[in-house]
Symmetry: C2
Subunit: 328 residues, 2 copies
Amino acid sequence: MTARFDVTAVGNAIVDVIARCEDSFLTVEGLTKGSMQLVSQDFGASLYTRMGQAVETSGGSAGNTMAGIASLGGRAAFIGKVADDQLGEIFAHDIQAIGVHFDVAPLIGGPSSGRSLINVTPDGQRTMCTFLGAANELVADDIEPALIEQAAVVYLEGYLFDLAEARRAFAKASGLARANGRTIAFTLSDSFMVDRHRGALREFLRTQVDLVFANEDEVKSLYETDFDSAVRTLGGEVKLAAVTRGAAGSMVIAAGETFSVPAAPIEKVVDTTGAGDQYAAGFLFGLAQGRPLEICAKLGGVAAAEVISHVGPRPQVSLKDLAAASGL
Amino acid sequence: MTARFDVTAVGNAIVDVIARCEDSFLTVEGLTKGSMQLVSQDFGASLYTRMGQAVETSGGSAGNTMAGIASLGGRAAFIGKVADDQLGEIFAHDIQAIGVHFDVAPLIGGPSSGRSLINVTPDGQRTMCTFLGAANELVADDIEPALIEQAAVVYLEGYLFDLAEARRAFAKASGLARANGRTIAFTLSDSFMVDRHRGALREFLRTQVDLVFANEDEVKSLYETDFDSAVRTLGGEVKLAAVTRGAAGSMVIAAGETFSVPAAPIEKVVDTTGAGDQYAAGFLFGLAQGRPLEICAKLGGVAAAEVISHVGPRPQVSLKDLAAASGL
């Protein structure tokens, strides 16, 4: 069946609250630099009072990736949960405005829309404290079958592995995808998430996933070994994997073969938020277009370079134009 | 009496919703480029559905100016009205986070917090459609006398001239300021606002204002004449005036004498939102510190140059450091 969407993603619908801070702020607050931790509403509210002035932008890992695919000219859909409030309206507006299909009904009478308090240090690293709120209420019923069945690739956000209900939603999505011969992609999202769910994750990857996105820390955490051994193991478990290595570019493992692609050049790293998300966007777009894997990885690099050159996790210029300018 | 604050401002508490657009979008939507128009909630909601993905940042003209003064190391207070909702929390957080005193109780059970839908064209010009919401509900009782009596300068935002209740608040503020020997500053805000209230505005400036901020369009609209004549007339009506001229810098008129100060150099104009607000911040900070008027105007230029070099109406780096780096 021809696909109506290049990619449909299931992820946390989140609005980012982004402030700059000094490294000392992280120390005082007891936050681990570069990590994502889930926090309660009270913890978040308290931390917020001590953060600097912020900007708000739609975020969420898989939501960012779908925005990137739309910016590349691809057809994307997103499944995630917001509340019936102002932040929820902002999330829905932004993802629809860039052309992503999004029509999950907002949660009424429950917690407010999820937000991620992101503190960016002068080196551009982001440290995230996420209050999931309504995003936590995503259930299997929110997975509209047609959106899965009609997508060439179904992309699942690893952060949802923390949530029992969302894992049931994943099971439904991956089952539908498998039944329709669709590719199932998964991102490991965060090394601490990997640490919390190592066994279940390995089983999930082995049995239900075709394509894995990871960064160095995540893949090392997954197999509790050094990078080279971890990559070898990963290559034996899934058909295809793409591992990002920051300034060192990315590595693609396909059918036992491994090759590296250098990072796209960039003047200054302003805010690394969304780098992995945009890499996935470029890679998935290329894949859905049937491009060679090396081109997929390069498209990922171009998209990632754009997003780390400014504050905010989604592209601010047309990635389609950028890719064309890079000869891709 | 020694002043507890350098400046206390009365203005619209607004959250900006900033999206990029092509010039053709303004044409299709029937919006006058560079203008600010007040819109209903319905008009705003409808326009929003057609705008691109956006970022949200605290805004409001006088609120931006107070943030600028705090960034310069000054002591500022702000009086304006938000609702008891998520955008109101964002506004309150941001202005307090930068060190501005703000403690007006949020409006409960009325309209939602005000927001300005700002479309920025490729040339960096901003076109604003503002739904005032709770900001429209500012009343004289919200003017805490101590905040006015203890400020060296009281700064009134011209946009509030559209609102009958807010004009009563202005009268209270300017009366208290006069009784305590404080300087009363006023910004004309927008040439269309000037056009709507020309007679009342001239009377207000003549009788209650010491210092006027304006741009070229506003001062020409105020006296319905050419720029040079308008500036001459303005100089005869108030003790002190500062007129901004975009890339041509600014002009200061004091006791019949006029002098010009060139604009601070800038690589690229990204978004002009907040340029006039930050000019006022630099000027007012210099004035409160007892600096010569030429330095005040230069401080204004440095602050304005910072804010137009990025998206968003408030400084993103320390203006105090920038001013020091410019030898001010």
